[in-house]
Structure formats: C-alpha cells, structure tokens
Amino acid sequence: MSYIKPQFRHPQLPANERGFTRTAYEGLISTLCAGCGHDSISAAIIQACWELSLEPHRIAKVSGIGCSSKSPTYFLNKSHGFNSVHGRMPSVATGAYAANHELTYIGVSGDGDSASIGMGQFAHVVRRNINMLYMVENNGCYGLTKGQDSATADEGSKSRTGQINPFENIDLVGVALEIGATFVARSFSGDKQQLVPLIKAAIAHRGFALIDVISPCVTFNNHHGSTKSYDYTREHVQAGNIVDFVPSETEITANYEEGASHNVALHDGSRLNLVKTTTDYDPGDRRNAIAALQDSRANNQILTGLIYIDPEEPDFHQMMKIANTPLNKIEMSTLCPGTSTLTDINQSLK
C-alpha cells in the first residue's frame, strides 16, 4: 500500500534556477523499513536533482527488483519509471537510451540485482558506456527476500543467523574499473555531504557513471559482525577524495575543507573540483585508481569518493553514431523509404 503525500507545503520553500522547489522532485512515501539506507539515497537523489535544476519530467528512472529497486517510487514522482525484472535493468536502460538520448537516466539497482543475477548485464552496460547514473544501493544482502548474503557480502562477514560468508566478494567498483568504466565512485548512504555532489557529477558526466553506495539494511544486515552495517561502515570509511560539483555558470563553495584541488572539465561545461583529503590522488588515471582500491582493501578500508573519471571517452550514442534527433522523435515519413525505393529493391532481386 502506498500513500500519496499531502500536497500542502510551506509556501516559502526555496526554488532552484528553474523555479522548482524540492517538492517537485519528491516521490510517494517510502514503504521501506525505517532507517533503511536506501531512503537516504532517495533523499540525496532528490537533493541533487533539485540542485541541478533538472526538469523532473525529463528524467527517466529504471530499476530491477529488490528493496533498492523499489525506491524509484519514492523520488521524482513526475518522472516516468520502469521497475523491470530482477537483474535486467541495464538492458532496459540501454534500449531506452538508444531510443532517446536526450533524457537523463537514473538507474537504481541492488547488490543482488547487479552483482548476482545481473552480473552479466552490469559488465556489458559498462562496456557500452551508456550515458546514465547507475546507482547500486549496496547492503551486502538480499533485503526483499529476507537477508540472504549477496555476492558483495565480504568474505568473513557474519550473517544475521551467525554464518560466516566463505566467498570472496565481488566489488562492482573494482570490476567497473577493470572493464573500462568512465566514471566510478563509491559512497555511503550516511554521508549526504559526499553523496549529493557525487550524484550531480555522475549525472553531468557524459557516459556510464557508477556510484556504489554502501546502504545498510537495518533489518537484515546491520548487526555486529556484518561488514555492511552502519557502524562498520562508519568506522572503515576512507574518504578517498571528495568532489565539488561546479555547474557550468556558478561556482559553489565547497563544504569540505579544501586541500590541493584537482579540476575535471565535463562536457556540459560544468566542472568537478576534487578536494583531496588524504593523498595526492588523480582520478584521471585508471591505474592509479586501481592501485588506490587495492591499497584500501589491504588496509581493510572502504575507499569512497570519486575514484575514477574519464570525461573524454565517447558514450554509446556517439560510438554508434546515432542521429542527434532522438530516434523516437523521427517521423515515419523520414524512416520509411517508400514505394520507389522498393521498386528498385525488387529490381535488384530479379
């Protein structure tokens, strides 16, 4: 059951550049468990879209199946959404993007949805560099089916029933880096300060942008011994680098203490200011990124932040040389070759 939110709002809510208040980006009331990390991520998406002044109806939300995949109902009520089948969101997003490259695509998936049943499609959507934000709401378990370990559960992590996971985990960040993703980030649902600008950067990035967000499942995977609990995550988070998203016109003030900053220009004219907190980190160097990830693993830490970005690699639409007019907008009269061409074709088949 879901409720429609009361429409009454304080009239003085701040509006963004396009005149929208945050309300315009909200969704139905969440039916997830109180405290679920996924709800914080929804809030961050709402915030980021509002800050970016996107037109809500020009966004398309796609997801698979799971608690995480339900969450697109809880943000952006004015956007079309597609809650597809388990593990197959990447292909649905790919088809949608092929049909119309002008919308903003937000994909939401879970760790089960992406790293188990969806592992194949995940790898291939990376390879195709579909222009989308691909959000993995990673809780190391299958929330909706009551807490079984997923493939991102860490080796040695303890399940709620006390069993120790004997398998190596699949780190989607590592896999994405290995197979050539052009934007790779990790964050924590509990760190809105980091997550919101990351989402903005991911949306602005032309190409596939992965954000793997540790998003604790309070009901099934938030106990002592779990390596995806709020406590564990807070203790082991390593804020690799923090990003300030600077839209094409204005320059916003960083919320973080500034260190030496690293600048990345995106194709829409916006920029990312990287505020290095720990190391002299260059997210433009894939080998570097891989090494940093390895380091953090060796130190039992969770590397977060913008880990890698390549703003230059052509995205799917460019690689495939698809027309600038979205394919779903081209008139039948243009697409259909007509009678005289068919006469020629018949002739060639005589």
Binding site: F82, L103, P337
Partner: protein
C-alpha cells in the same frame, strides 16, 4: 540394355553435393538464378551442417514449370557430386533414370556404380589443375566449371550466366572474365563429352514476371526498415542472424546520413538474448520501434521478459526463425516447433500474439504488421518464420508498398492530449476497447508520468496487492486478447471449385507443400479447401472453416501437433475433428509427406469425391 533416362523439361531436381567452406555457395546460387532468369520457377535450398568448414553440404534446386516450390520428395534427377566424403550416399539419392555428374579425374569408386542411372564424368580436377596455378583458385573455379557443364547439359543460355556474373562482380570487374572463362571450360567439356542437352533440361519461359528471389530473413529485415524500426537488438544465432544483418544492410543504405555521419537507427549486438529483449522493451517503452530476431533457444531465454512486456503492456517485436528440435537440437535444420512455447511463453496467465508468414513477401508484410499490432495492442508480437523460408532464396511476388500507408502508432498521448486531460490513468479502459493509453517519458512536465512495472497495479498504475484490482486487469488483458484479431491479418482461404468436405489448415512454410498436395488430390478427383493461418489469436474465419468442413487436417512441422493444440485450446473445438499432418525430421515439408498423412485419413472420400 538401354539405360532408362529421365526426360523432363522444366520439372526436375538438381542437387549439388559440396564441402562447406569451399566457396560452392555462390556458384550454386548462380545456377539457381540462371533458371529464374530463364523465366522458369525455381526453388533452391541450402542444406548445411552446424559447422564452418570441411563437412558435407548440399544445395538442392527444384525447377518447376508449374511453380511448385516445396521440397520434392523421391530423389533427385541430377546429382552434381563434388564431395567424395558423401559420394556413396549421394549416388543413392538419384532416381532411376537420373544423372550423376562427377569428377572423373580419378576412377569412380566401384561401390558407386548403379545400373539404373546415367553417369556424367567431367574431369573437374584435371581441368582446374591444368588451368590454374593457385590452389585457392583451383577450388573456386571448380565450382564455376561444373556450373558451365550444367549449362550445356540442361541447355541454359550462356548469355544468362554472363549477365549474372557481370552483375555479381559489378564492383570487381576484373573478376568477370575469369569467371566467364571458367564457365566456358565446363561448358565445352560437357559439349565435348555428352550429347547435349540431356532429356532433362530447361526451356525458356515467361513464368516469373512480377516475381523476385529473396530470403525471408532479408525480407524481415527490410520490413523492419519500412516499419520504421529504429532499434534492433539481437544476439547471433542460426538461422536468425541474417535478419539483423539484413536490417543493418538496408538501414545503412537507406537511413545513413553520410554528410553528418549519422544513423537513423542503431543495431546493438547484445551480450545475450535476455539483454536483447530487455533493450527492445526499453526502447519501445521510450517510444521507438524496436525488435529482436532469434531462434528457439533465444525465445526460451526471453521467456521472463515476454511475461513482463505482456503484463506491463509494452510493445515489442520478436522474430523467431525456428530451427529443429528442443535444446540446441539441429541448428541448421528447419521445423515449426516453437508454437506452444511462443503463444504461452512465461509463467502465469500469458498469451502472446503470433504471426506466420509463408514466403518472403509475407515476411515483409507481416513484419510491418507486427510493429503496427505491437503498438496498437501494447503487447509483444512474435513473428514465427523458420529456417526454410528464412535462409533460402525463395521465389515470391514483388514486394509492394503504398506511400499512403499509415503506420499505426497506437494509443500514445502527447503533451496536448495530456494537457486537456484532468487525470491520466495508464491502465484505464477509456475507449471500451480494452486498450489503455500510454505516455512516453519526457512528454509533459506535470501529467502522464507513471511507473511501469511487472507487479500488480490498479488502473492508475499504482502498486496494489488487492485481488479485485489484479483480476480486473487480467480480465481486461484477456478481453484485449480476444479483440486482437481485429488488428491482425486475416487467414487466407483457398476454396476448391467443387464444394469440399475436406479442409486443410496450415501455416508458414507448409503452404507450398499443401498447395501442391491439393493439386495432386484434385488430379485424383478429390477437392480440398485450404486455410492458411496468419495469426494467433484466430480470426472467426478459422472457426467457421473448421465448422464447415467434415474432415479437417492441421499441418504442423513438429512432433506434438502444436498448432492443433492451440486451435483446440483457443477455439474450444473438438479434438476428434482435427486430424494431424506431422513432419518433423528437420527437412522441409514436401507434398508427398502431406499426402502420406492425408490419404489414409479421408475415409471413403476418395471414391465419393470421384463420383461427384
């Protein structure tokens, strides 16, 4: 003793026995085309292994003045034997009085000697060794040489070949002369050795005006271009691969803007069939016409997604070029074995609209119809063809198109319509036709956004677990199913001049064999009517046809009488009334095979009909 000699003008079968990967395909096609250019109906068929190089492969060409295009049973009239591997089997396939052309550079295996057939030895290897240095050329031209010999033997004009070769090598004119020369080497060798032409031969006619030769897969690909499809997502699988390839070929010619280096289409080779269908769903959801082409194993993998598209009411077009068998089966053989798994694909109560073309022209037309029906009915449409029509060059009528054709884009609300609306409800049946309105992402800032999902929801697309809302929706879907024939092509009925109690129901590539069988029955004085199913669910005419015939046969190229099952299930008709004609060994259906099932099952009728 004089050997028997088959004597037949424009009515015979030539079969080529080759090794695959040896380049014989283009020479053999040349031969088939030369018959066509002589104005005589021809039906070539490629019989190839699931392998790339070195195994036996055959090319069977039926020449038929009467225009019979089905496979002919009962052996071949002239075998061109170029593969020692299969020679002993091949020689057995020749009919008594038939001809066996072979390479007599070395003496023929004694076990291949039959008293009742005529041997035509041509020293193919000797000639090629003499004429060409290069091993590759030797092999290639050997094929052209035997075609040349056939020209002499069957009395086909050399000029026909010259023209064909010129056209073939239009872009590589240097190759024209060597090919024409090779052809003459064979021609002369035959003239020298044999009394040309044979009693089996070709006579020029004018019987193929207004006709073309094309594969069904090309026609589907071209149909998708004419239907305005912009997204093709597919995964390679025999025998459907050339559908996507044809789409890409035609689209790259007709929809590519060289100046801007831009395409009005995209072909995505997916990582598998699940992904291919997901892409098709995503693109259609977003308002593009998108399709995939696959074969049985791919359909099995798309099963879950088919259920989503059915339930969420997303248009989609799936072309299933059927091959033989369950599992991997016989990937290079033909069958109509996916009927049940397509119509009822996916768990839960699901039914899918299916279309059944019989020849390339119908492939072209039904592909267009599939896109229209998909958007009109907001449901996946499965076009079922098979390897036989899909991969062989089939003779059929010229493709037709009218520039006044209006593609049916179905019920999609644009921004203005939404603006005028008080409240949009995605699954409301406003028009009483069981088809709700959909909207495309990005249409209107405030109205029309909704959540597409495979879970149950109410008329406004809001998630619900209420049983009555679920049931209302399922009832509407069922009503939509029953109304679907209104938007689908009607069956094609051929009525015998004499009124008949016999009705034969067929679909897809069984048509030609059935037509020929009916002619043969008619020659025996037995009239039979036929009905070609074009679509599931069935038009009312199908029920009427069954009701109005005493003896009804259903021709299925599968073991389990799958179309018969669907007929019984969808029309609630008595199984006792529907007799099966079954054929499922992977070979194309022949009139003979049909008659084998028909004859013993027309009790008393043979006599009766004769008396009328």
């Amino acid at each position: 003793m004089q050997k028997p000699k088959i004597d037949a003008v424009n009515d015979f079968v030539v079969k080529f026995a080759n090794v695959n990967g040896s380049g014989s395909a283009s020479a053999n096609t040349l031969f088939a085309k030369s018959i066509f250019r002589s104005g005589v109906p021809v039906a070539p068929r490629n019989i190839f292994p699931s392998n790339i190089q070195g195994l036996p492969t055959w090319y069977e060409v039926r020449v038929s003045e009467q225009g019979y295009l089905a496979k002919r049973a009962g052996g071949v009239d002239l075998m061109v034997s170029v593969n020692p591997q299969s020679l002993l089997d091949d020689v057995q396939e020749v009919r008594t009085g038939g001809y066996f052309l072979y390479d007599d550079t070395r003496p023929l295996d004694i076990r291949a000697i039959r008293k009742d057939i005529n041997y035509l030895g041509v020293p193919l290897t000797e000639i090629t060794n003499r004429e060409y240095e290069d091993a590759r050329l030797r092999q290639l031209f050997k094929n052209v040489i035997y075609i040349g010999a056939l020209a002499a033997l069957l009395d086909i004009e050399l000029s026909v070949y010259d023209k064909l070769i010129e056209e073939q090598f239009a872009k590589k004119p240097k190759l024209v002369k060597p090919n024409c020369d090779a052809l003459r080497l064979g021609y002369d060798a035959a003239k020298e050795r044999f009394d040309c032409p044979l009693p089996v031969r070709v006579e020029q006619r004018d019987l193929v005006d207004g006709k073309i030769m094309m594969t069904g897969n090309s026609a589907c690909g071209l149909g998708a271009v004419y239907a305005g499809a912009t997204v093709a997502a597919w995964y390679p699988i025999t025998p459907s691969t050339s559908v996507a390839e044809a789409f890409e070929k035609y689209a790259s010619q007709l929809r590519y803007d060289a100046e801007k280096d831009e395409k009005n289409y995209v072909v995505i080779q997916a990582e598998d069939e699940l992904a291919a269908f997901g892409m098709v769903i995503g693109a259609n959801w977003n308002g593009a016409r998108a399709f995939t082409a696959t074969s049985g194993p791919g359909v099995s993998l798309m099963t879950e997604f088919l259920g989503l598209a059915y339930f969420a009411e997303v248009p989609a077009v799936l072309i299933d070029v059927q091959r033989a068998g369950p599992s991997t089966g016989m990937p290079t053989r033909t069958q109509q074995g996916d009927i049940l798994s397509c119509v009822y694909a996916s768990h839960g109560d699901t039914r899918h609209v299916c279309l059944f073309p019989a020849d390339p022209k119908e492939c072209f037309e039904l592909t267009v119809a599939a896109f229209d029906a998909a958007e009109r009915l907001q449901t996946p449409i499965i076009l079922l063809t098979d390897l036989d029509v899909g991969m062989n060059d089939c003779l059929c009528d010229d493709l037709e198109w009218s520039d006044s054709y209006q593609h049916d884009r179905g019920k999609v609300m644009d921004a203005d319509q939404l603006e005028a609306l008080e409240k949009f409800g995605r699954y409301r049946d406003i028009d009483g036709d069981f088809i709700p309105y959909r909207t495309l992402p990005g249409t209107h800032p405030e109205k029309g956004a909704f959540f597409t999902r495979g879970t149950s929801r109410d008329e406004d697309a809001i998630y619900t677990e209420k049983g009555d809302a679920y049931q209302r929706n399922m009832e509407r879907l069922l009503a939509k199913w029953f109304s679907a024939p209104d938007y689908l092509p009607a069956p094609k009925i051929v009525t015998a001049s004499d009124s008949s109690e016999i009705g034969i129901i067929h679909y897809g590539t069984s048509r030609d064999a059935v037509t020929e069988a009916v002619d043969q029955l008619s020659a025996d004085g037995i009239a039979a009517d036929t009905l070609q199913i074009m679509a599931i669910p069935f038009h009312d005419a199908v029920r009427k046809f069954i009701d109005s015939h005493e003896y009804v046969f259903v021709v299925d190229q599968n073991r389990d009488a799958q179309m018969r099952t669907v007929l019984i299930n969808e029309l609630d008709c008595d199984p006792a009334k529907l007799r099966s004609v079954l054929h499922y060994d992977g070979t194309p259906l022949s009139a003979d095979a049909v008659l084998t099932w028909l004859r013993p099952n027309i009790p008393g009728l043979a006599e009766q009909s004769r008396m009328e």
